[in-house]
Point group: C2
């Protein structure tokens, strides 16, 4: 792919000025239109050292409306970043709706450099590139237009350019070392570009020898991306309007999942634990968990626990039995309710990424990203295409956590409809429990069959070997709590 950008194309000063006279107002116009849309455009600026990437970033900041541009450089990493999965730092910097994000460096930087220096083996490099494609596909499907620019220089051109930069005191700290490895860089980059050149986010390789040529070329590419983002946003809005006002509950599309034996029915809800057994068992389990939480910290091992379940299944009280065993310095409980404005302006997974724990810490999610395939599916908040795609996206997200070495446990607390009814009524009776029961709970209860179908599909499609669901028999709270603590302990012991 790089050959195509070695023709030494140039642009005269005059042609540059003439083009800009049209390009700049067009860029601004498209940017303002984008600002009123729910779309994001992400421009990735990568390529050879000395190819003018920094200058190009400056130019975009000059040409676009600076108030709606977020520029972010990815370079050296803080320990907060090192201690989380690789993609965390990019999620953190993701532009919100209507914004243009300019990434100077990206998820390509580290894999390529590591491969050049042989810090990463080929058999790690190839799957890493696949993960990148998967990630970019997910962004594109979520409304993020990704523009990937690769500014290319021949070896001669790079040599000349670095000399100029050195004279002006503008040489980056690694530029010289990278130049020595030019051939290796070219080979590794070519490999990366080829494997990650997919329709949802194709590469644009730009001949970067001439400043005017590369700037105008990149400017035009960004303009096209802005306009296409605005267009598809308008088309989507139109499609939404023409759909019936109140859509019937979305029918399941044709898909890989074939509903088989019920995973919920397989749970023996009659399982119980006596008070005596519980009072003997619980303190022992909590003590063991307490020691494990400290051991996980010493081993720099992060943990994610996630709780879902029917209303009144006892999520809150189960979580408290877990947290009671842990030093508050080690864990955080994140309750998932309606998203905030900043969260709504982002991909739906963004608000979960922001709470991913660093090494040695524990995050407990009280409800989670599974809302996408539960409440958003059943209530019709997300179109079928969105929630159906979410199973794969969620599996990919969790794989990033487990690949980083995290322990992950996911609990669905199951109760029978009769037990739920009993608890609803009890909540209405006890003064400090009344806030826990609302009209919505009663409404949800009526939709149980639809929820049940969604739960079954979720359990079946999102239980890979590294991140299986644990369905908890919740009719007896004591039994459920002990089962949960045992599972957390078992998961932590396996991870350590």
């Amino acid at each position: 792919m790089l050959d195509s950008a070695e023709q030494g194309l140039t642009l005269s000063d005059r042609a540059y000025e003439t083009t800009l006279r049209h390009l700049r107002p067009a860029l601004l116009k498209a940017h303002f239109a984008l600002a009123r849309s729910p779309r994001q455009v992400l421009v990735i600026v990568s390529g050879s050292d000395g190819a003018g990437k920094g200058e190009l970033v400056h130019r975009f900041n000059e040409w676009l409306d600076p108030r709606a541009v977020a520029t972010q450089a990815f370079w050296d990493h803080s320990d907060e970043e090192e201690e989380r999965p690789h993609f965390w730092r990019f999620w953190k910097a993701m532009p919100g709706a209507g914004k243009v994000g300019i990434f100077f460096g990206s998820w390509y930087t580290r894999p390529i450099i590591d491969r050049v220096t042989k810090a990463r083996r080929k058999r790690e490099f190839v799957p890493e590139l696949d993960r990148i494609v998967e990630f970019e596909r997910m962004l594109a499907a979520g409304g993020v237009q990704v523009v990937k620019l690769w500014l290319h220089l021949t070896k001669d051109a790079q040599g000349r350019r670095l000399k100029e930069l050195a004279k002006a005191g503008r040489l980056g700290p690694n530029d010289r070392a990278h130049f020595k490895a030019y051939d290796r860089f070219r080979e590794v980059s070519e490999r990366a570009l080829e494997q990650t050149n997919h329709p949802a986010a194709p590469w644009h390789v730009v001949d970067a020898t001439d400043r005017r040529h590369r700037e105008v070329t990149c400017g035009k590419l960004v303009r096209a991306a802005l306009e296409s983002a605005v267009e598809s946003s308008a088309a989507e809005a139109k499609a939404k309007r023409t759909r019936s006002k109140k859509p019937a509950p979305a029918p399941s599309p044709a898909r890989a999942y074939a509903p088989g034996a019920s995973l919920l029915d397989a749970v023996d809800l009659s399982q119980r634990l006596t008070v005596a057994a519980y009072e003997r068992e619980m303190p022992r389990l909590q003590e063991r968990l307490s020691r494990l939480a400290w051991a996980a910290r010493d081993a720099h091992r992060a943990t994610v626990l996630l709780f879902e379940g029917w209303d009144a299944a006892g999520k809150g009280s189960a979580i408290r039995r877990v947290t009671q065993a842990m030093d508050p310095r080690l864990y955080r409980v994140v309750g998932i309710a309606a998203p905030t404005e900043e969260e709504r302006a982002q991909h739906y997974l963004w608000r979960f990424w922001r709470h991913v724990p660093r090494d040695g810490r524990i995050t407990i999610f009280d409800r989670s990203w599974y809302g996408r395939v539960l409440v958003e599916r059943v209530e019709g908040f997300a179109p079928v295409a969105d929630w159906d795609r979410a199973y794969g996206e969620i599996n990919a997200f969790e794989r990033q956590l487990t690949d980083h070495g995290m322990a992950l446990a996911k609990f669905w607390i199951h109760v029978s409809p009769a037990e739920q009814l009993k608890r609803f009524k009890e909540r209405q009776r006890v003064a400090w429990k009344q806030h826990k029961i609302t009209d919505e709970d009663w409404r949800n209860r009526k939709k149980m069959p639809a929820y049940r179908e969604a739960v079954e599909e979720m359990l079946a499609r999102c239980s890979p070997a590294e991140a299986p669901w644990t369905v908890v028999a919740g009719n007896d709270k004591r039994f459920a709590r002990v089962q949960i603590l045992r599972t957390v302990i078992e998961r932590l012991e396996r991870a350590l």
Copy 2:
């Protein structure tokens, strides 16, 4: 103050249960009322090791509505935190409107431990405590109710308690070492408590020997704080309603500042630079700045540049001349527009704290926290009491930046009204500048006298020796840009 909590108070199981039957619904009721108000309550849990701080945190999470509680432990620090002023980590964790924040550890933890281990000298300790008082006063004035709990144990009680914890595997990593230094801890804590016991955020020292006694005592204190926050919020809302609907521009209150000679009039706006001089000078300055930006990174020295000025004064183009000289990996430009929902739910300084650069990096603010004493003052968005207090709060904020070793430069770009008019008209003519001129610019222009008064007062009251304003003669853009670059260079050279 600690003596008062050494009486070994206890509570019977029965009295505990009876109290809780009233306390828990009352706590929840107050918490729900708070959730509907714009107030925050911040509970600081501190005190002796082994005094049950962790248990108490768990209890609050049980008693309150967990969806509106944010618990945060302050303990070991990431490099992201180490490389910013001490208060940054607390700002980052601040609960939003309607929320209860529970801080396990706080801004007291580090000063006290450092003083106990003599890592910090007494003559640093005392002013640090003063800064804490200043900070807490500011939070209180901004609507944050701070509840400071100190759980106290006698030496004997602590010894017994640590033995129990060791047996249960729940001893924290430093507990033993701290116990050895019990007497010293007591002395230093007593000193800290006395100096920081002020009416805006008084200390509550709690006898922590008996679990039931300490939990009920702390529960009641939090209840009182919640109720008082809700009450004062209601009182404030009422006062707002009874004020005239459209208040006249707020009159300046009696205050220390006496308008003297005009600082704006003192600027010689006739200063100009020829094209030839500019083209000779600018590249030289940019080269110097480029080297300095790298040197600042190597020296782990952070920089904050802040730009304010009349509409069309040339802030944007001046910022671009600065950023062109710097590697995009080193700086971020933060444009300040209307706050987001998450930002509106916080103290007005929160959204600036979140952008404070780490060591070695540069943040450039295009508009800034001075909006509080400019647009918010002139347009009446903030009541007089709020913006009048802001001068001191802003000085304290900037002192924290400079105390941390940051280079800070603040620019007010001044242009004459005639020059502004000329530029407004030009913006209307040029296609890619039209977006820069709106009806609001014309409205603001009419309010120039009021803005002028606000600017003069800001320049006079917020120019301490470590963080003075630079008023830039902006009628000639070339002159202004060169003046700005020179100032940035001079400030960086002084800091390095």
